[in-house]
């Protein structure tokens, strides 16, 4: 982003926040529906001190990482298999694409029955949505490896395993990383949503709890906190991805 663009983005944010503040303070919008942003921000320290927002953050991130790690562990081999076995890949691809677009979160009652009202359910809901982009992008990355690199592996007498670890996977890595990034985003969204719906775990639970208590400024605080935190997190991942791309 250009410098002018950055300043514009921040200016837009400031303008919207100031507008909301004005609407709320002048009473044009009920403070019960939309408390002034200054009050929302002021409520964050109390959430951290008394409602365990720090612990909730830790919990949500850990659940997200666990779910994504499991998605990588299963998704990369699965994607590799689907790339190597062409017919299998072509058979699975439309279903994967369909699943990628489907609101899988609606299946949460089913997972509640399987795994009970526990963190396992939350993590599994994260895993289910994270594994799909990892599989799709791994397959795409491997299929996209240039034929000359396969010929190079042949000409150097690589074993299939050597060709996979020294040529194919490194060449596919930038694309696999796109799948990882999508997986992380989807896992986190679904995990926070399930926490909210089921009322267990981390950040989603804190938002639900504040809502149940009609503590509207604190609820907004928790929501703003989640949004800011996840935005920063994904900015960081994007940086990492750019660093990883060789060109």
């Amino acid at each position: 982003m250009t410098r002018g663009g950055s300043i514009g983005s921040i200016g837009l944010l400031v303008a919207v926040v100031a507008g909301l503040e004005a609407l709320s303070r002048t009473g044009r919008v009920s403070a019960f529906v939309m408390p002034p942003p200054s009050e929302i921000l002021a409520a964050i320290p109390a959430l951290v001190l008394h409602e365990g927002l720090g612990y909730a953050t830790w919990l949500t991130f850990n659940t997200t990482f666990a779910a994504t790690a499991a998605a990588l562990l299963l998704g990369v081999p699965a994607g590799t298999l689907l790339a190597r076995r062409r017919v299998l890949g072509q058979a699975y691809e439309p279903w994967l694409e369909a699943a990628f677009a489907a609101p899988i979160i609606l299946l949460y009652p089913l997972f509640l029955i399987f795994f009970g009202r526990s963190l396992v359910t939350v993590a599994v809901m994260g895993f289910v949505v994270a594994v799909i982009p990892v599989i799709i992008k791994t397959r795409e990355g491997i299929i996209g490896v240039r034929p000359v690199l396969h010929n190079l592996a042949l000409s150097l007498h690589m074993t299939p395993l050597q060709s996979l670890t020294k040529i194919v996977l490194p060449a596919a890595l930038p694309t696999i990383f796109v799948g990882l990034r999508l997986g992380l985003i989807y896992a986190m969204i679904n995990i926070v949503a399930v926490e909210f719906l089921v009322g267990i775990g981390g950040l989603g639970f804190v938002v639900a709890d504040m809502y149940d208590r009609y503590d509207i400024p604190s609820m907004y605080s928790a929501v703003v906190f989640v949004i800011v935190l996840s935005s920063l997190f994904f900015l960081l991942i994007e940086r990492g991805e750019r660093w990883l791309r060789p060109v």
Partner: protein, 271 residues
């Protein structure tokens, strides 16, 4: 003198006989130890097919390819291939790119780095050991690929238009580098090219191929003194060799061009 590479009656047909395409027909050629031979032909003469067969990348064909007297099937450790396309690994440095074949062979890190450095120097890339391919020019990347192939010391160096994507001046200068390497290593080399100047500048013999199906039209001995350099292009004999090869190629190339245009006209895809 011993033949490092023998090609005997090699033909390749794509598809079944009626309607199939005969890409190359009955190619025979010997390359002696230390010799530099170029294969030149018009577009669509099956050069790349022949490259694939000799390199062991095209499995089914008629005839046989012998390396060091042995018939070979599949890729062979005595044939080192340099591809036409970009084939350096962008996530590796020049040093680890060149050391890759030795890494596969299980050579210890210290030894493979030492050998890699030697070949990097030979191709004129000393000082770029820790650069990544993206930081290099196209010519430098191809030299990295050549060093990588030389590093595992194949009997025969097989190159498929390695400088095809480069401009003429860079190509002449890289030709000098290839001549220097050939002088130093006495490396048996088979170069596939469509560039007449390049073929004459580098080779002991030039094999001229016909348009599809590719056959050997003529084998021309290039009797220019070695050591050569890009200055040889000013030699009047150089011009005569270029003219002789163009004389053979001209009819073939125009036949190829007409056929390709006719195919375009009927909307069929050229093979």
């Amino acid at each position: 003198m011993a033949n490092d590479l023998e090609i005997r009656g090699v033909s390749k047909r794509y598809g079944d006989p009626p309607g199939g395409l005969l890409a190359i027909s009955d190619i025979s050629l010997n390359v002696q130890k230390g010799e530099f031979v170029s294969i030149i032909g018009p577009s669509g003469c099956g050069k790349s097919t022949l490259f694939g067969i000799i390199g062991g990348l095209v499995p089914d064909y008629d005839g046989e390819v012998r390396v060091g007297g042995q018939r070979h099937v599949g890729t062979h450790k005595d044939i080192g291939i340099v591809f036409q396309e970009e084939s350096t690994l962008p996530w590796r440095t020049v040093l680890t790119n060149v050391a890759l074949p030795l890494e596969i062979q299980g050579v210890s890190r210290a030894e493979r780095e030492e050998r890699a450095r030697h070949y990097i120097e030979l191709v004129g890339l000393a000082g770029f050991e820790n650069s990544r391919p993206v930081e290099l020019s196209g010519g430098m990347r191809q030299r990295t690929a050549i060093a990588r192939t030389l590093a595992f010391q194949p009997k025969v160096l097989l190159m498929d238009e390695p400088f095809g994507a480069l401009d003429e001046q860079t190509r002449l200068l890289l030709g000098d580098r290839v001549l220097a390497i050939h002088k130093e290593l006495k490396q048996t080399t088979l170069l596939i090219t469509h560039n007449i100047t390049e073929a004459v500048q580098l080779s002991d013999r030039v094999v001229v191929m016909s348009y599809r199906p590719g056959r050997v039209l003529r084998i021309l001995d290039i009797d220019l003194p070695r050591p050569r350099s890009s200055d040889s292009v000013t030699d009047e004999r150089f011009g005569r060799y270029v003219a002789a090869i163009w004389g053979d190629l001209r009819a073939e190339a125009s036949r190829g061009m007409k056929e390709a245009e006719a195919l375009r006209g009927t909307g069929r895809r050229a093979g």
